[in-house]
Protein backbone atom coordinates (compact mmCIF):
# COMPACT_ATOMS: atom_id res chain seq x y z
CA UNK A 1 0.00 0.00 0.00
CA UNK A 2 1.16 3.49 -0.82
CA UNK A 3 1.29 5.60 2.35
CA UNK A 4 3.16 8.88 2.73
CA UNK A 5 3.99 9.88 6.28
CA UNK A 6 4.99 13.38 7.41
CA UNK A 7 5.52 14.87 10.83
CA UNK A 8 4.19 18.35 11.61
CA UNK A 9 4.37 19.83 15.14
CA UNK A 10 4.57 16.39 16.77
CA UNK A 11 1.59 15.18 14.76
CA UNK A 12 2.17 12.32 12.36
CA UNK A 13 0.14 12.73 9.17
CA UNK A 14 -0.48 9.58 7.12
CA UNK A 15 -1.53 10.41 3.57
CA UNK A 16 -3.25 7.38 2.04
CA UNK A 17 -2.11 7.51 -1.59
CA UNK A 18 -4.60 4.95 -2.87
CA UNK A 19 -7.90 5.26 -4.71
CA UNK A 20 -9.35 2.34 -2.73
CA UNK A 21 -9.06 1.43 0.94
CA UNK A 22 -10.43 -2.11 1.01
CA UNK A 23 -9.87 -5.68 2.22
CA UNK A 24 -6.83 -5.94 -0.04
CA UNK A 25 -4.77 -3.08 1.43
CA UNK A 26 -6.36 -1.87 4.69
CA UNK A 27 -4.19 -4.23 6.77
CA UNK A 28 -1.14 -2.09 5.88
CA UNK A 29 -2.76 1.09 7.18
CA UNK A 30 -3.86 -0.72 10.33
CA UNK A 31 -0.29 -1.98 10.91
CA UNK A 32 1.20 1.50 10.33
CA UNK A 33 -1.12 3.15 12.86
CA UNK A 34 -0.40 0.38 15.37
CA UNK A 35 3.35 0.83 14.86
CA UNK A 36 3.17 4.59 15.41
CA UNK A 37 1.18 4.34 18.66
CA UNK A 38 3.38 1.53 19.95
CA UNK A 39 6.44 3.70 19.23
CA UNK A 40 4.94 6.25 21.57
CA UNK A 41 3.50 8.73 19.06
CA UNK A 42 0.45 10.40 20.56
CA UNK A 43 -1.12 12.29 17.68
CA UNK A 44 -1.91 10.74 14.32
CA UNK A 45 -3.90 12.24 11.45
CA UNK A 46 -5.05 10.05 8.56
CA UNK A 47 -5.70 12.10 5.41
CA UNK A 48 -8.04 10.37 2.94
CA UNK A 49 -7.99 13.00 0.19
CA UNK A 50 -7.05 10.50 -2.53
CA UNK A 51 -9.37 7.72 -1.33
CA UNK A 52 -12.46 7.50 -3.51
CA UNK A 53 -13.72 4.17 -2.15
CA UNK A 54 -13.74 2.63 1.33
CA UNK A 55 -15.25 -0.73 2.34
CA UNK A 56 -15.99 -2.29 5.73
CA UNK A 57 -12.38 -3.51 6.03
CA UNK A 58 -11.08 0.03 5.48
CA UNK A 59 -13.51 1.37 8.07
CA UNK A 60 -12.48 -1.47 10.39
CA UNK A 61 -8.79 -0.57 10.02
CA UNK A 62 -9.55 3.03 11.06
CA UNK A 63 -11.63 1.81 14.02
CA UNK A 64 -8.70 -0.37 15.04
CA UNK A 65 -6.40 2.68 14.86
CA UNK A 66 -8.86 4.71 16.90
CA UNK A 67 -8.94 2.05 19.63
CA UNK A 68 -5.15 1.87 19.54
CA UNK A 69 -5.00 5.62 20.06
CA UNK A 70 -7.30 5.42 23.09
CA UNK A 71 -5.39 2.58 24.72
CA UNK A 72 -2.14 4.54 24.27
CA UNK A 73 -3.63 7.84 25.51
CA UNK A 74 -3.29 9.27 22.01
CA UNK A 75 -5.47 10.86 19.35
CA UNK A 76 -6.45 9.68 15.88
CA UNK A 77 -8.24 12.14 13.63
CA UNK A 78 -9.31 12.09 9.98
CA UNK A 79 -9.29 14.66 7.20
CA UNK A 80 -10.29 15.29 3.58
CA UNK A 81 -13.04 12.68 3.10
CA UNK A 82 -14.59 12.56 -0.35
CA UNK A 83 -18.43 12.68 -0.30
CA UNK A 84 -18.98 8.98 -1.10
CA UNK A 85 -16.42 7.96 1.52
CA UNK A 86 -18.14 10.21 4.06
CA UNK A 87 -21.47 8.58 3.20
CA UNK A 88 -20.08 5.21 4.32
CA UNK A 89 -19.05 6.73 7.68
CA UNK A 90 -22.61 8.02 8.01
CA UNK A 91 -24.20 4.69 7.04
CA UNK A 92 -22.16 2.89 9.71
CA UNK A 93 -22.56 5.80 12.21
CA UNK A 94 -18.77 6.12 12.45
CA UNK A 95 -19.01 9.86 11.73
CA UNK A 96 -20.12 10.13 15.37
CA UNK A 97 -16.96 8.37 16.54
CA UNK A 98 -14.19 10.11 14.60
CA UNK A 99 -13.22 13.76 14.56
CA UNK A 100 -13.35 14.50 10.84
CA UNK A 101 -11.99 17.73 9.31
CA UNK A 102 -12.44 19.08 5.77
CA UNK A 103 -8.67 19.47 5.27
CA UNK A 104 -5.43 18.33 6.87
CA UNK A 105 -4.59 21.99 7.65
CA UNK A 106 -7.78 22.37 9.71
CA UNK A 107 -7.20 19.04 11.43
CA UNK A 108 -3.64 20.04 12.39
CA UNK A 109 -4.98 23.16 14.14
CA UNK A 110 -7.28 21.03 16.27
CA UNK A 111 -4.99 18.59 18.02
Amino acid sequence: MNLKTEEKNEIVVIYVKEERLDAHNSGDLKAEMQRLFQEGRKNVLVDLHEVRFIDSSGLGALVSGFKNAISNQGNLKLSSLQPQVKSMFELTRLHRVFEIYPSSAEALENF
Binding site: A23, S56, S57, G60, K67, Q84, S87, M88, L91, T92
Partner: protein, 141 residues
Protein backbone atom coordinates in the same frame (compact mmCIF):
# COMPACT_ATOMS: atom_id res chain seq x y z
CA UNK B 1 -29.28 -2.00 -23.55
CA UNK B 2 -32.96 -1.59 -24.45
CA UNK B 3 -35.36 -4.13 -22.99
CA UNK B 4 -32.98 -7.02 -23.41
CA UNK B 5 -31.55 -8.70 -20.39
CA UNK B 6 -27.83 -8.36 -19.96
CA UNK B 7 -25.86 -10.97 -18.08
CA UNK B 8 -22.24 -10.72 -16.97
CA UNK B 9 -20.63 -13.91 -15.73
CA UNK B 10 -17.20 -13.69 -14.09
CA UNK B 11 -14.90 -16.14 -12.35
CA UNK B 12 -11.89 -14.79 -10.49
CA UNK B 13 -9.35 -16.37 -8.14
CA UNK B 14 -10.20 -16.28 -4.44
CA UNK B 15 -7.82 -13.34 -3.81
CA UNK B 16 -8.42 -9.81 -2.54
CA UNK B 17 -6.31 -8.29 -5.34
CA UNK B 18 -9.30 -8.84 -7.65
CA UNK B 19 -11.71 -6.83 -5.49
CA UNK B 20 -11.07 -3.59 -7.37
CA UNK B 21 -11.63 -5.30 -10.75
CA UNK B 22 -15.00 -6.69 -9.66
CA UNK B 23 -16.01 -3.37 -8.07
CA UNK B 24 -15.07 -1.52 -11.26
CA UNK B 25 -17.25 -3.83 -13.36
CA UNK B 26 -20.20 -2.96 -11.09
CA UNK B 27 -19.49 0.76 -11.53
CA UNK B 28 -19.25 0.46 -15.31
CA UNK B 29 -22.55 -1.45 -15.49
CA UNK B 30 -24.32 1.32 -13.56
CA UNK B 31 -22.94 3.91 -15.95
CA UNK B 32 -24.10 1.93 -19.01
CA UNK B 33 -27.73 1.41 -17.98
CA UNK B 34 -30.07 2.79 -20.61
CA UNK B 35 -33.23 3.38 -18.69
CA UNK B 36 -32.28 4.56 -15.27
CA UNK B 37 -33.41 7.94 -14.06
CA UNK B 38 -31.94 7.82 -10.57
CA UNK B 39 -28.56 9.02 -9.34
CA UNK B 40 -26.16 7.06 -11.53
CA UNK B 41 -23.01 7.97 -9.59
CA UNK B 42 -24.54 6.75 -6.33
CA UNK B 43 -25.78 3.53 -7.94
CA UNK B 44 -22.28 2.95 -9.36
CA UNK B 45 -20.71 3.46 -5.94
CA UNK B 46 -23.24 1.18 -4.27
CA UNK B 47 -22.71 -1.63 -6.79
CA UNK B 48 -18.94 -1.28 -6.33
CA UNK B 49 -19.51 -1.47 -2.57
CA UNK B 50 -21.80 -4.53 -2.46
CA UNK B 51 -19.66 -6.45 -4.97
CA UNK B 52 -16.52 -5.66 -2.96
CA UNK B 53 -18.17 -6.65 0.34
CA UNK B 54 -19.72 -9.83 -1.06
CA UNK B 55 -16.52 -10.98 -2.71
CA UNK B 56 -14.37 -10.17 0.34
CA UNK B 57 -16.84 -12.17 2.41
CA UNK B 58 -16.66 -15.13 0.04
CA UNK B 59 -12.84 -15.02 0.09
CA UNK B 60 -12.44 -14.78 3.84
CA UNK B 61 -15.28 -16.75 5.32
CA UNK B 62 -16.93 -18.99 2.74
CA UNK B 63 -13.84 -20.03 0.75
CA UNK B 64 -11.64 -19.98 3.87
CA UNK B 65 -8.96 -17.82 2.25
CA UNK B 66 -7.86 -20.62 -0.10
CA UNK B 67 -6.22 -18.79 -3.08
CA UNK B 68 -6.68 -21.85 -5.33
CA UNK B 69 -10.46 -21.63 -5.21
CA UNK B 70 -12.53 -19.40 -7.47
CA UNK B 71 -15.25 -16.89 -6.76
CA UNK B 72 -18.03 -16.94 -9.33
CA UNK B 73 -20.07 -13.80 -9.78
CA UNK B 74 -23.12 -13.39 -12.01
CA UNK B 75 -24.72 -9.99 -12.61
CA UNK B 76 -28.07 -9.87 -14.46
CA UNK B 77 -29.68 -6.63 -15.47
CA UNK B 78 -33.25 -6.33 -16.66
CA UNK B 79 -35.21 -3.11 -17.14
CA UNK B 80 -36.42 -2.96 -13.58
CA UNK B 81 -33.90 -4.88 -11.51
CA UNK B 82 -30.24 -5.70 -11.07
CA UNK B 83 -29.54 -9.10 -9.55
CA UNK B 84 -26.07 -10.06 -8.32
CA UNK B 85 -25.21 -13.63 -7.37
CA UNK B 86 -21.93 -14.50 -5.67
CA UNK B 87 -21.19 -18.23 -5.55
CA UNK B 88 -18.70 -19.84 -3.21
CA UNK B 89 -17.61 -23.40 -2.64
CA UNK B 90 -17.12 -23.28 1.10
CA UNK B 91 -18.94 -24.20 4.28
CA UNK B 92 -21.00 -21.05 4.18
CA UNK B 93 -22.62 -19.21 7.06
CA UNK B 94 -26.08 -18.32 8.30
CA UNK B 95 -26.73 -14.77 7.11
CA UNK B 96 -29.64 -14.38 9.52
CA UNK B 97 -27.44 -15.28 12.47
CA UNK B 98 -25.19 -12.27 11.85
CA UNK B 99 -26.35 -9.52 14.17
CA UNK B 100 -26.70 -5.90 13.07
CA UNK B 101 -23.67 -3.93 14.23
CA UNK B 102 -23.87 -2.41 17.68
CA UNK B 103 -23.20 1.25 16.86
CA UNK B 104 -22.23 2.06 20.44
CA UNK B 105 -19.59 -0.65 20.54
CA UNK B 106 -16.47 -0.10 18.46
CA UNK B 107 -15.79 -3.35 16.66
CA UNK B 108 -13.16 -3.73 13.91
CA UNK B 109 -15.39 -6.13 11.99
CA UNK B 110 -19.01 -6.98 11.30
CA UNK B 111 -20.17 -4.15 9.04
CA UNK B 112 -20.03 -5.91 5.63
CA UNK B 113 -23.38 -7.70 5.64
CA UNK B 114 -25.02 -4.66 7.24
CA UNK B 115 -23.72 -2.48 4.37
CA UNK B 116 -24.99 -4.97 1.76
CA UNK B 117 -28.43 -5.18 3.40
CA UNK B 118 -28.60 -1.38 3.66
CA UNK B 119 -27.74 -0.72 0.00
CA UNK B 120 -29.75 -3.53 -1.65
CA UNK B 121 -33.49 -4.23 -1.64
CA UNK B 122 -33.37 -8.02 -1.18
CA UNK B 123 -30.53 -10.17 0.18
CA UNK B 124 -30.39 -13.92 0.75
CA UNK B 125 -27.73 -16.58 1.26
CA UNK B 126 -28.47 -20.23 0.70
CA UNK B 127 -27.02 -23.60 -0.25
CA UNK B 128 -26.44 -24.09 -3.96
CA UNK B 129 -24.98 -27.29 -5.37
CA UNK B 130 -21.79 -28.10 -3.45
CA UNK B 131 -21.49 -24.55 -2.18
CA UNK B 132 -23.58 -21.48 -1.52
CA UNK B 133 -24.93 -18.42 -3.25
CA UNK B 134 -25.38 -14.89 -1.96
CA UNK B 135 -28.15 -13.16 -3.90
CA UNK B 136 -28.57 -9.40 -3.83
CA UNK B 137 -31.26 -7.57 -5.78
CA UNK B 138 -31.85 -3.89 -6.37
CA UNK B 139 -34.83 -2.30 -8.07
CA UNK B 140 -33.97 0.14 -10.82
CA UNK B 141 -37.32 1.87 -11.03
Amino acid sequence: MGNKKLEVDIKVPNQTRYLSLIGKIGEDIAKELDKFNGDRETLAYHLNMVLTEAMANAIKYANAGDPERMVHICISISTDEILIKVFDTGQGFDINAIPAPNFDKLEDRGRGIYIIKSLMDKVSYRKHGKGNVLEMAKKLT
